[in-house]
Symmetry: C2
Subunit: 202 residues, 2 copies
Amino acid sequence: MTAKQGGPIRRRLSTEERRDQLLTVGARLFSDSPYDDVWIEQVAEIAGVSRGLLYHYFPTKRDFFAAVVERESERMLRMTAAVPGVPVREQLAASLDTYLEYVQAHAHGFRAFHRADAAGDQAVRRIYQRALGAHELQILAVLAEDPEFGPVARARPDTQLAVRGWLAFTTSVCLEWLRGSDLSREQVRDLCARALLGVLTP
Amino acid sequence: MTAKQGGPIRRRLSTEERRDQLLTVGARLFSDSPYDDVWIEQVAEIAGVSRGLLYHYFPTKRDFFAAVVERESERMLRMTAAVPGVPVREQLAASLDTYLEYVQAHAHGFRAFHRADAAGDQAVRRIYQRALGAHELQILAVLAEDPEFGPVARARPDTQLAVRGWLAFTTSVCLEWLRGSDLSREQVRDLCARALLGVLTP
């Protein structure tokens, strides 16, 4: 490949890389502004692609936002997947560390994800709710298998609500932490761990 | 006062009663639909008043919504005010009972209040954030004075974040409970109490 005269050396992005680039730009825009204020034409401009190409990947703003939210959701699910056979109490700190590292490194994506709940578009809110439901199920499955928490989690009628509430706790704490808090990652981790153990312990 | 022929017996509402009636209608509409989908003309229609009168009380939709949110917020603050001199651990259950009774009795207002965070209008979100901040301060003040939790609450750097997170926990649990959960009020109360004591206890 040769560079255009005076221009930078460029190579074509693969379909996967291009999609990823567009979603990263999208995460930033959606994290800075409410859904209704984002124009997907801005995305094309920032990414330096034609609108046509953008529409080729994502026909509508809703599709685009759904893809941003889904990418973040999948990332979080992958990262916070439990190590099979290791008790919750032992892996909770490490799992929260990974999660909080993600929150810091992908602050835009994290904020964009949680902005989805505030979208005027009902379909967008449903995408968010579905993603949240998947997190809830992942946590519930891990708890149910745990030697310490399993029996209580399965017996208690409020386990699902407790996990739902804890996700809201953690989200709210992380959003506030990103807004600028003096707390270290370890302090936030310990706070979130304490909250989960607090609702689970009989 | 005499009834119109065949019509119901009517009396004029006082300014205060009228304002209250309009806000109650508003709470229902805002609880059922996103902010952007509510037309304040509907409010006039449902309340059986002219648009002119409605605009007299609330010049814009934003003013109207702000008044709905503020009324709910004040109610909650009043109801959950702590009894001076009584330890947190002793009055927590009673305070949560009052709060959950309110949530059930004013489900519309409660939902409308928390919808404010999802409003496209930034000024509306600020009103919500301010109201939430007032709740947070009220709880922090009670904790700081408490013989059991005061020393820890004052010493810990994460107390404010813990209370913020707990409010999100409680809100999320209540909204899900209203959506239709089999849990009794006592079960929801115990879950919320456990969550607070869990994050506060060293």
